[in-house]
Symmetry: C2
Subunit: 336 residues, 2 copies
DNA sequence: TCTTCCGCTGGAAGCGCTTCCAATGCTCTT
DNA sequence: AAGAGCATTGGAAGCGCTTCCAGCGGAAGA
C-alpha cells in the first residue's frame, strides 16, 4: 500500500523522520513506535534500498569474491560449502551477498567490484601467496576479509585453518605408527595451503629427527599428480605418504595398489580435507577434516565486526581441524 | 580524483548532465564526448551505484535464487555450474549478481528478495512442480526467469531441457538394442525432472508397444534409491534399467553387480546428467548430457531480453541434450 | 513556583545521480 | 536573407531516504 516513507508517515500521522527512526532504531516513544510498527506491518512497507544506501552510505550488501577457475569451482565442493556458510551468516543479519566468480581477468573483476561502490565490505578467497585481486582489494578502502590468509601479511583480516599444525599432526600420526620413510606429495606450489602443509610436514619430521631428503615430491592437488607423485616416492621405498589433499591421495592410492602393494600394510596413506569420497575409498582414507562451512560463517562474522568497528585492528580467526583416522593408516585389524 | 559527477563536470568544464549523457549513451557532440571520456579515464571516476539506481530505477543487479538444501548444493556440481554460467553471462554486461541460497524458509527468502527492492530481475531454480518461492516471485512485479520450468505455467519465462524427449531417447536406445523388459527408477516425485522423465520413459515404451506395468519404481535421485530400486526391478527380471539420474544409476550398478549380474550383458543401464563420475564407473555409464553451464548463460540472457522489452511476452528456451552412449548399454565388443 | 534538562518530534538539508525541459547556436530550406 | 528545424547543452526537479538541528513540552531539581 504505502510505497514511500512519506506515504507511510502520512498514514500514521507522524513525520517521515519518525518513521525512519522506528525502522532504524532511533529514539521514539513507545506509543508512536507501536503505531508505526503496526502500519509498517499492515502495509508491508519496504524502504527503498537505493535511497537508504545513498542517504546513509551503507548498503547492507557484502561482496564475495571467488576468483577460481570454473572447473575447480564445481569439481571441489569446498567453494559451494564456503558460499553456503557465508550465505548463512549473512542472511542472519539480513545482509545481501553479491558474488563474483572468475569469469574475467582479476583486474577486470577488481575494477567491477571497486566500481560498484555499493558494497559495505568484501570477502575474498585468497589461496595463492600472491594474488593481484587480493592485493587490490586490500589496497582499496573497502573493508576486506580473506579466507586463507597470506602469512606475510600482518595487517589483513582473515579466516583460515592452521595448515602447518594440521600437517604436523598428520605427520606425527604416521611417525607414531612406526613409519620412518615418510613421503609427502605437495599441494600446488605457490598456494598458502600447499606451502604451509609442506612446512607442517617438515616440522613433524624434524621433531622425530627424520630426514626429509628426497621425501618431498611436487604435486598440484590433482589426482593425476598423486598418481605420478606416488610412483616417484615408491621408488624411494617410502612406507607412508602424506598427500597435499584427498584428491592427490586418491591418485596415490591407485598407483600403490596397482603395484601390488597394500595400504596400509606396505604404505600408509593420508590426505587432507576429508571430502566426502575420502571415507569411501578402499581403504577409507585418514585425513584432516576442516570445517569449510564454519570458515564461511566466520569470515562473514569477521567482516561484520570489521564494519562495526573499523579501527579495532585486523580480525584473525584460525579454525580448528581434526585428524580423522581411518584404515588407510591404522588398518589391519579392522576389515570393513 | 573526482568523486562526484559535479566534480568531474567542473574538471571538464561542462555540466553534470552532459557527463551523465556521456556515461549513459545520450546525445553528445563528439568533441565534448572525447573530452569527458578522457577525464573519465584519467580520474578513474565511478558513478555512485546507489545514486544512479535511485534516480533511474535500474540497478544493474540481478538476483539469483537457488533455494536448495545445503547438502544438495555442494554435492551436486549442477548448482556451481549453473551459477558459473549465469555469472559469465551477467559479467559480460557488467551486471551484478546477488545470490540467495536456501538458508531461511522460502517465505523469508521471498521477503528478503522482494524487500530489497533493488533488483532489476531475478533468476530462480524451479525444480519442483510446486514451489511457493517461485510462485511468490512470479506473482511479484519482478521480472523472473525460471530454470527448470513448470509445465502448467504458460506465462512464465524459463530455460529448461527437454526432459521428456531426452528420456524418450534413452528408452528408445534401450529398445533399439533389443531390450524388452525395461525398468525405470524414477527421480524424486514432485520434481519437474522426475515427472518429465517418467513421461518420456512411458512415451518411449509406448512407441515400442512395450508395457510399463510394474516397470517403474520410485526413487529420489539418490544413490541409495538406485540400489533399492534396482533390487526391486531385478526381481521382476528386467533386462535394462533407465535411472532418473547418474547417482541413482551408480547405486543400481552396485546392486546389479553384487548379484553377480553383468552390465550390460544381463542388464543394460542408463542414467541422466552425465556427471563427471559417470564416465568413470565400471562399465562407463550411458547417460544424457545436458549443458548446465549453457542453462545458466541462457537464463541470464533471457532475463536481459525480458528487461529490455517487458511486453514481448515470456521467453522460453529449451536447450538440447545429447545421448552419450557408453559401455553400460553397448558393452561387449569394447573392453576399455 | 521557576528553571533546567531531556526525550521526543518535525523541518529541512542533503546523498549523487538521471532526465525532462527550455534555451542556444547552428545548418538547411525556401 | 529570413524562418524552420535540429543537435547539443545547461538548469532544475526530483528519486526516497537518513540525519542534523531546533523546538516543543513535560519531568525533575532548586
Amino acid at each position: 500500500m504505502a510505497r514511500t516513507l512519506d506515504e507511510l508517515a502520512a498514514l500514521v500521522g507522524v513525520s517521515r523522520a519518525t518513521v525512519s527512526r522506528v525502522i532504524n532504531g532511533g529514539s521514539v516513544s513507545d506509543t508512536t513506535r507501536d503505531r508505526v510498527l503496526e502500519a509498517l506491518e499492515r502495509t508491508n512497507f519496504r524502504p527503498n534500498a537505493a535511497a537508504r544506501t545513498l542517504a546513509s552510505g551503507r548498503s547492507g550488501i557484502v561482496g564475495v569474491v571467488m576468483h577460481v577457475n570454473p572447473h575447480t569451482l564445481f569439481a571441489d565442493p569446498y567453494f559451494a560449502q564456503l558460499l553456503q556458510g557465508m550465505s548463512d551468516a549473512l542472511s542472519e543479519r539480513a545482509a545481501g551477498m553479491m558474488v563474483w566468480l572468475g569469469n574475467r581477468t582479476k583486474e577486470q573483476t577488481l575494477g567491477q567490484i571497486l566500481g560498484i561502490g555499493l558494497l559495505d565490505g568484501v570477502i575474498v578467497t585468497a589461496h595463492n601467496l600472491d594474488d593481484p585481486l587480493v592485493d587490490g582489494l586490500r589496497a582499496s578502502t573497502l573493508p576486506t576479509v580473506l579466507v586463507g590468509h597470506r602469512s606475510a601479511d600482518r595487517t589483513a583480516s582473515y579466516v583460515d585453518i592452521d595448515n602447518v599444525g594440521a600437517a604436523d599432526t598428520v605427520t606425527s600420526h604416521l611417525v607414531a605408527l612406526g613409519r620412518r620413510r615418510i613421503g609427502h606429495i605437495t599441494g600446488r606450489r605457490g598456494t598458502v595451503a600447499g606451502e604451509d602443509r609442506i612446512t607442517g610436514f617438515r616440522r613433524g619430521m624434524d621433531r622425530a629427527h627424520l630426514s626429509t631428503d628426497g621425501s618431498i615430491v611436487e604435486g598440484d592437488f590433482t589426482e593425476e599428480s598423486g598418481a605420478t607423485g606416488a610412483a616417484q616416492l615408491l621408488e624411494r621405498r617410502v612406507d607412508a605418504i602424506f598427500c597435499g589433499n584427498d584428491a592427490t591421495a586418491a591418485g596415490a592410492l591407485g598407483t600403490i595398489q596397482a603395484r601390488g602393494l597394500a595400504v596400509p600394510g606396505d604404505v600408509a596413506l593420508a590426505g587432507f580435507d576429508d571430502l566426502e569420497f575420502a571415507a569411501r575409498l578402499d581403504p577409507p582414507l585418514t585425513t584432516i577434516r576442516q570445517g569449510v562451512h564454519a570458515q564461511g560463517t566466520e569470515a562473514a562474522r569477521a567482516l561484520f565486526e570489521l564494519l562495526r568497528d573499523p579501527n579495532a585492528g585486523p580480525r584473525r580467526v584460525i579454525l580448528p581441524t581434526e585428524l580423522v583416522i581411518r584404515r588407510s593408516t591404522i588398518g589391519g585389524v579392522q576389515t570393513t
